[in-house]
């Protein structure tokens, strides 16, 4: 059964989705979906215990390979390399938390809603495990379907505009990628990611890179981000910023860096520069944002810039740091978005000018937001500090200028996170904060505490991940060229 773990992780939620859609489960849909999501986490932990991080073969863990369409050599090929395994773990944990949050809030039309959330889980895990280019594209696009509906149906008042923007932006990128996928696959006469060699085509590289740059997003392709993050329901925003953006990181690492070594060298400084601009610009916007979601959304832009810097600096320290920071950022922004959701439920606004003083009499909320915020601003000793430090240390070897920009980003992060914390928790009680607004309920704690616990564990032991990204560079052949 070990060989089947990747397949199980992909298809278990899909089966759950079909179950919810096809059978008249009614209000039970939520509890069923939660059960499936928890089982998914269980399977991932099971896979973690069986994962071989010291693997010397170039095939991924839990490798499974079946011919799907022989004419063009398309196959169902899945498996996990160490770095993608962590991203998948992040995905299942955050999605479980999101489903739990949706269940607690009690979304309308539960069968459609929870079916879509489970479908999304499948697609995301599929993205992180696919080892065939067309399969990757299929999962990458399949993510869009539930996201479109989740934002468009259960989102805020401006949701229709937000979905159009979101879809047009991301599809423009991914359709270019489809052209690149086809040309790449036909030129190699195979779509398999493990067995195909590198290509030197600049156009193909750009086709992929733009798609991922939109998805991440990288400056200046982030136009869809503020609307999508503001208008979706908090748990969907958590998934969007925490998990979906990491599909771009996977794409950068698995395709852009590995399959296009030549163009990668040519464009490396361009992408590093864009990412650095995004880091500073996003941080500044986050500092100026008028509402909680705006702060988190733009901080995501900044953080994705930093992670991209880590991938494109391309040495052992920076890539390990980038993967660690991906997990950190996923957990952090998911927690923050869910916290934003709990605050908005109590005050029916996210506007910072109408919030304030929520710490008094609400110790659990204050502690949760404080702990998350402090980790997010990368205080020394936190997991985010470890991740960012690794990235900066790694990127230093590519040029000290990049490291300076990164350090500026860390300072700015402290500014906007502290502003967020004080605007929500401290100062005078805001006009929108009712006296009777409750502290976090046990159910909300049940959702948030595991996420924060993950962050605390990583803070205590960041090497748990960063040491297991490139333990043995032969695990992932592309990393053999990494410099220490």
């Amino acid at each position: 059964m070990t060989g089947w773990l990747a397949t199980i992780l992909i298809f278990l939620p899909l089966g759950g989705a079909l179950f919810v859609w096809l059978l008249p489960v009614g209000r039970l849909a939520g509890s069923f979906a939660l059960l499936v999501a928890l089982a998914e986490v269980g399977f991932w932990i099971n896979a973690l215990t069986k994962m071989d991080f010291d693997r010397t073969s170039s095939t991924p863990n839990f490798d499974q390979h079946t011919v799907w369409f022989s004419d063009l050599h398309v196959s169902y090929h899945v498996g996990f390399y160490a770095f993608s395994f962590w991203l998948a773990g992040l995905a299942v944990v955050v999605l479980a938390a999101a489903i739990a949050y949706g269940y607690w809030v009690g979304r309308d039309r539960p069968r459609a809603y929870f079916g879509l959330m489970l479908f999304l889980t499948s697609a995301v895990v599929g993205v992180f495990s696919s080892q065939d280019l067309l399969l990757f594209y299929v999962f990458f696009e399949a993510m869009m379907i539930p996201l479109y509906v989740l934002i468009g149906v259960w989102g805020g008042p401006g949701r229709l505009g937000a979905t159009v923007k979101f879809v047009i932006y991301t599809m423009a990128g991914s359709l270019l990628m489809l052209a690149a996928v086809i040309v790449f696959g036909l030129s190699k006469n195979s779509f398999d990611l493990v067995s195909t060699g590198p290509s030197n085509s600049t156009w193909l590289f750009l086709g992929f890179a733009i798609a991922f740059a939109v998805k991440a997003p990288l400056f200046p392709l982030h136009g869809w981000l503020p609307d999508a993050y503001r208008e979706s329901s908090p748990e969907v925003a958590a998934v969007l910023s925490g998990v979906i953006s990491k599909a771009a990181i996977f794409g950068f690492a698995r395709i852009c860096v590995v399959k296009f070594p030549g163009p990668f060298d040519d464009f490396r400084n361009v992408i590093l520069a864009l990412a650095a601009v995004g880091l500073v610009y996003g941080s500044l916007l986050a500092f100026r944002a008028p509402d909680i979601r705006g702060v988190i959304a733009y901080s995501s832009l900044a953080q994705m810039g930093l992670i991209t810097i880590g991938i494109f600096a391309f040495n052992i320290a920076s890539v390990s740091g980038a993967i660690l920071q991906s997990v950190n950022h996923g957990l952090l922004s998911a927690t923050l978005f869910l916290l934003a959701g709990t605050i908005e439920r109590r005050t029916s606004t996210g506007s910072l000018s109408r919030l304030g003083g929520m710490a008094r009499g609400r110790p659990a909320l204050a502690t949760a937001l404080m702990a998350t915020g402090i980790i997010a601003l990368a205080v020394p000793g936190s997991s985010a500090f470890a991740g960012e430090f690794l990235i900066l240390a790694g990127v230093f070897s590519s040029g000290w200028g990049w490291a300076v920009v990164g350090a500026v980003g860390m300072v700015l992060a402290a500014m906007y996170m502290l502003r967020l914390i004080s605007a929500v928790l401290h100062t005078k009680p805001g006009s929108a904060v009712p006296e009777a607004a409750l502290d976090l309920r046990p159910a909300e704690l049940g959702i948030l505490v595991p996420l924060i616990a993950c962050l605390l564990v990583l803070s205590a032991w960041p090497a748990g991940i960063s040491d297991r990204v490139i333990r043995n560079s032969r695990d992932f052949p592309a990393f053999t060229k990494l410099k220490p």
């Binding site: 369409f69 052209a179 086809i182 040309v183 036909l186």
Partner: protein, 492 residues
């Protein structure tokens, strides 16, 4: 005494079975009692299509080698058999969609008879082996469709649609006929492969008469396939015709026109290969551009789907322009989910039309997805299929078509297709947005009360189309295997 050629009745059986069903339907119009007429005619018609499906499968199975039959006028091969399977299945789905349509009682029998006759003509057309059978088959089904478009004389626009289709379709046929005459005048041959041989033997490749003839034949077929710039009848006719007929036309007419275009071009004009691939690529690009851009501003769903069908003619013409084995397989494969989702999408429109009693627009689709979950979910997958999202056959079809163009070395055509897909997303997703994301209250409809009409056959047809659409994605290998031997028939 004229020598009659030996007739391979078995190879013609798909057409003949459908014709037989048409005859019984026509008789039942006079002989059957009123209460029995509708179920009986529909049942006989459906039975005819099932019979046609069986016979076409048998012909497919028993014809591993392609050869010409009936004095070389028709061909018996797997290429035609696959197209016949698609047409028969389209007809079958259309019966399901038509069954509960509000129809004047005095022409129920004729409706099904015409439907079966049209399908028989299409099945005959895809077998055409010379220019005469081509024209015969084309007129055979076209005349049936002219009447079917106008059959709802009470419906506003139906008669107008029929008339428009008649005049412009007649124009297209005339162009095709004139082109055939020129080709015959130049080569002295009618048979597809004889034309190619004569061109080669007499070195006619540069003959201007042959060239003009080829262009006119291509234009005539482009009329039928509703490829731009020969598409102007499409939106009006699709909009005015009874919705089940529209769905049938979108699926089956396009299938036969494209399949036949590929057969004719590749068999009869291999010497002009460089020329017609460019011409077809031009048609593809204009169809993609015009269909998608015009669809953006449509409010009426039937017109929107009409423009979408023009753009899909463009996508499938890319496969024709690729002119290779992969392109042929891509075309035949794409036609399977495309036909299913065309009929399915128009069926959903028909259901909404019956519910509201007025023209379906993007606005009055509001809330439809939640009110009719099965039809809504099906429409959702149809729109994703049209737009080419994964988990639908539409995605795999586009993947194959783009691969074929890339294999030919025309990556620019891939980029055109990709750009067209991006534009098309806007209006396909607008339908989904209307169905699910706008509350029905915005509509301001007076609640009539009671549950929506139960249309078992229509719903089953829609569900079947949905299964084909999603199934084609996962089962791409067996379907392409089915088309592989069919594609080998063509000398590409």
């Amino acid at each position: 005494m004229i020598n009659t050629p030996s007739v391979d009745w078995f190879a013609l059986s798909p057409s003949l079975v459908a014709l037989g069903a048409a005859a019984i339907c026509l008789l039942s119009a006079v002989l059957a009692p009123r209460w029995l007429l509708r179920p009986f005619a529909a049942f006989v018609c459906a039975l005819g299509f099932v019979g046609g499906l069986v016979m076409a499968s048998l012909v497919y199975w028993r014809s591993p080698d392609a050869h010409l039959i009936v004095a070389d006028a028709a061909s018996r091969d797997r290429f035609a058999a696959v197209a016949q399977l698609i047409v028969m299945a389209s007809g079958l789905l259309t019966v399901g969609v038509s069954y509960s349509a509000r129809m004047r009682e005095d022409h129920i029998g004729e409706y099904y008879a015409l439907l079966a006759t049209a399908v028989a003509g299409m099945a005959f057309l895809v077998q055409a082996g010379n220019l005469m059978t081509l024209f015969l088959g084309l007129e055979w089904f076209s005349v049936c469709l002219y009447i079917l478009c106008a059959i709802e004389v009470d419906l506003v626009g139906s008669l107008e649609a029929g008339l428009k289709y008649l005049i412009i379709g007649g124009m297209g046929s005339a162009v095709l006929l004139f082109g055939s005459a020129l080709v015959y005048g130049s080569t002295g041959e009618l048979g597809f492969s004889e034309i190619a041989n004569a061109t080669r033997a007499h070195d006619l490749a540069a003959d201007p008469i042959l060239l003009v003839g080829l262009a006119m034949i291509l234009a005539g077929l482009a009329f039928k396939a509703s490829a731009a710039p020969f598409h102007m009848w499409t939106p009006d006719v699709y909009d005015g015709a009874p919705t089940p007929v529209t769905g049938f036309m979108a699926a089956a007419t396009k299938t036969v026109a494209l399949v036949l275009a590929l057969r004719l071009l590749s068999v009869a004009f291999p010497e002009k290969h460089d020329l017609w691939t460019i011409a077809v690529a031009f048609l593809a690009c204009t169809s993609l551009a015009w269909g998608n851009l015009a669809a953006l501003v449509q409010r009426r769903v039937k017109r929107l789907l009409a423009y979408s069908s023009i753009s899909h003619a463009g996508f499938m013409l890319i496969a024709v322009a690729a002119a290779n084995q992969l392109g042929t397989r891509a075309l035949l494969y794409y036609l399977i989910p495309y036909s299913a989702i065309s009929i399915g999408a128009f069926a959903v429109v028909a259901a909404r039309e019956r519910e509201l009693g007025e023209t379906v627009t993007i606005e009055n689709l509001a809330g439809f997805g939640w009110e009719r979950p099965v039809l809504g979910a099906a429409m959702f997958t149809f729109m994703l299929g049209f737009a080419g999202f994964p988990l639908t056959g539409g995605f795999m079809g586009k993947f194959l078509i783009f691969s074929a163009a890339s294999q030919r070395g025309w990556n620019w055509l891939v980029l055109v297709g990709v750009a067209a897909t991006l534009v098309s997303l806007y209006y396909y997703l607008a339908v989904i947005r209307a169905m699910y994301m706008r509350p029905a209250a915005e509509l301001g409809l007076a609640p009539i009360g009671g549950s929506p009409p139960r249309e078992v056959l229509l719903t089953s047809a829609v569900v079947a189309a949905m299964i084909v659409n999603v199934g084609a994605f996962f089962a791409i290998q067996p379907l392409v295997d089915l088309t592989r031997t069919a594609a080998k028939v063509l000398p590409l």
